[in-house]
């Protein structure tokens, strides 16, 4: 048996070497930090290092849950991501289906290029766009309102507006990018299926309903499952660059990631921020396990694993 394994390893030597850099990378940057989870149960001291720092049991968690922030940031993170997943995917699928039906190649190419543009902007630049739009004194929105003699809006101090602003920018940035994944799978559908359906008298809406959507199912499942796996992980760039450290808006804009960032780099609470990180990872893990289990039950083919 042992010689068997050795022989097999040897015959796959080159392939193992080829995959080695990627394996080492994730081993070092993803698996090694997993051991750092013990920090959540310790009071970190720079001089003693991770292993030497004293244990404090669940104190870090207690502190986080007692401040009352836990509920707020968890709720915000989950609700925002749920909104992003639903709205973005629906928009992307609709765009992909309509793009596939549009006859003019020039229009299609131009539209695709334009819709992809926002994906090129960094969140820092999107922050500048938001500032251009919503700034109280000079913002385009208020300039427009003033010229229409409507009272101005004080957007940077009103938490209510930000739910919609954040959802808008998330969709805006992702629509063109995500639609391409769906377009790619529409293109791989056999044209003959459509022709046959047409001959049988199916109209274009029926063809979309009975051919396009079912064949998109695997792509939808994998993209949505991957997104659901991160439902407790905020897009840090979106929240941080649009809102920044604007404490006035935290009620509706603070998510787990911005909270962890602040407690780590601003308040230097190493123990508590690792406890929250751990809590976040457990939530993500549990969500993906449950969703994957449900998908497996209904349709084994499309489950992630």
């Amino acid at each position: 048996m042992r010689t068997g394994l050795l022989y097999r390893l040897k015959s796959k030597k080159t392939l193992l070497f080829m995959i080695a850099p990627a394996v080492l990378y994730f081993l070092l940057f993803s698996y090694v930090p997993m051991a750092g989870i013990v920090l959540a149960f310790k009071q970190y001291r720079y001089d003693l290092g991770i292993m030497g720092s004293p244990w404090v049991g669940f104190d870090n968690f207690k502190f986080f849950f007692m401040t009352g922030d836990a509920f707020r940031v968890t709720r915000n993170t989950m609700l925002y991501n749920a909104a992003f997943i639903i709205i973005n995917n629906v928009l992307q699928i609709v765009v992909a289906i309509l793009m596939a039906e549009i006859g003019s190649k020039l229009f299609r190419k131009t539209a695709q290029t334009i819709m992809f543009l926002p994906y090129f902007l960094s969140w820092v630049v999107v922050g500048a766009v938001a500032y251009n739009l919503f700034n109280y004194e000079h913002g385009t929105v208020n300039t427009l309102l003033r010229s229409l003699h409507i009272p101005e809006l004080d957007i940077y101090t009103t938490p209510e507006y930000w739910k919609y602003i954040l959802i808008f920018f998330s969709a805006w940035k992702a629509v063109g990018y995500g639609a391409v994944f769906y377009m790619a799978s529409i293109l791989s559908i056999d044209r003959e299926t459509y022709e046959a359906a047409e001959i049988d008298g199916a109209n274009v809406f029926q063809r979309i309903r009975y051919i396009t959507l079912p064949s998109l199912r695997p792509t939808i499942t994998i993209l949505v499952l991957l997104a659901i796996g991160g439902i407790f992980r905020g897009d840090f760039g979106l929240f941080y660059q649009l809102v920044g450290n604007n404490g006035l808006l935290y009620q509706t804009t603070d998510v787990i990631d911005t909270y962890v960032y602040r407690s780590l780099l601003v308040n230097n609470e190493i123990g508590m921020s690792s406890a929250i990180g751990f809590y976040q990872s457990i939530l993500c893990f549990a969500t993906i396990m449950v969703t994957n289990f449900l998908v497996r039950k209904s349709d084994k083919e499309n489950a992630l694993f």
Partner: protein, 299 residues
């Protein structure tokens, strides 16, 4: 088939066309307007912004903001060079490592591919979080204020490896098989045969990786204090929040503080840091739809 049903299907097609053109045009417009807003803002004179605010079309044209941004280009040039160096190195190295991994993972005769696939995929399911990773980078690998702290984090991405693997699956196994019979080794097959055939996939993932490097500010925020290591986006971030700081510096150096085109400068800087990467898109776009199929995570 009756003529009425043919007619009906024509009407349906028409309806869908109308919905399609209107809907796609509206979305395209929504994607375009913010760009127009920043370009217009960067070309408006400061006094006109102060008195009338930002508009879709400038009330008073002015190049002042660009002239000002380029008057003292040292920091700009150094950030540009750093960002270009990071983008080029990171994209080439990252793409090569990802493509090798993806190739191995889709080889049907590689018996451990399921295990390795799960090894990669698991990192997206569960991770240690920001803090242990940060401490690893800073206290154990001593990467604070180094080029490495900016180069390594965006290097590989599990999702991209999965996309590349799905793409490579579309290349027939027969190619690998026949090359093997001719006596070619696995690495030679990969370099000579697979890489050239994988162009659409590589171009697409290459563009994504390049964008991640070009647009990265987070790693600078975490790891960089030294101005020599400011990436373009981080420089922009610093300047957006810190016009007051710039004003002070200028007052000390004896420049006319009132001349600072603050509001339009913010927009001009946003244009200047975005510009170059957009030119990559036309070269890559034709490969796009081909290159982007996602397949199951299962090995």
């Amino acid at each position: 088939m009756s003529t009425t049903s043919v007619k009906k299907s024509h009407i349906d097609q028409r309806m869908l066309d109308v919905i399609g053109y209107v809907f796609i045009s509206l979305i395209s417009l929504a994607c375009l307007i913010p760009f127009i807003l920043i370009i217009s803002g960067s070309l408006t004179s400061e006094s006109s912004i102060t008195s009338d605010g930002f508009r879709i079309w400038p009330k008073e044209f002015s190049w002042d903001a660009y002239a000002f941004a380029l008057k003292h280009p040292q920091q700009f040039i150094s950030s540009y060079l750093l960002t270009i160096a990071l983008t080029v190195t990171g994209t080439i190295v990252g793409l090569f490592i990802s493509a090798m991994a993806a190739y191995v993972l889709q080889r049907q005769d590689f018996e451990w591919r399921g295990g390795f696939s799960f090894f990669f995929y698991f990192t997206t399911l569960f991770n240690g979080g920001l803090v242990p990773w940060y401490i690893l980078m800073v206290n154990y690998l001593h990467m604070k204020n180094t080029f490495w702290s900016l180069l390594l984090p965006p290097l590989l991405n599990v999702f991209y490896i999965i996309i590349l693997r799905t793409f490579l699956r579309s290349i027939p196994d027969a190619i690998t098989e026949s090359a093997k019979i001719d006596g070619a080794g696995d690495f030679t097959i990969f370099i000579r045969l697979i890489l050239p055939l994988a162009k659409p996939g590589l171009a697409t993932i290459g563009l994504f990786t390049a964008l991640n490097y070009w647009n990265d500010w987070f790693n600078s925020l975490l790891f960089v204090q030294n101005e020599k290591l400011y990436t373009l986006q981080y420089l922009l971030y610093k300047m957006l929040g810190n016009l007051e700081g710039i004003r002070k510096v200028m007052a000390i150096t004896g420049m006319q503080v009132t001349e600072l085109p603050g509001e339009s400068l913010k927009m001009a800087l946003a244009i200047l840091v975005t510009g170059p990467i957009i030119f990559l898109y036309p070269f890559v776009q034709r490969y796009f739809v081909q290159g982007l199929t996602v397949g199951a995570v299962k090995g």
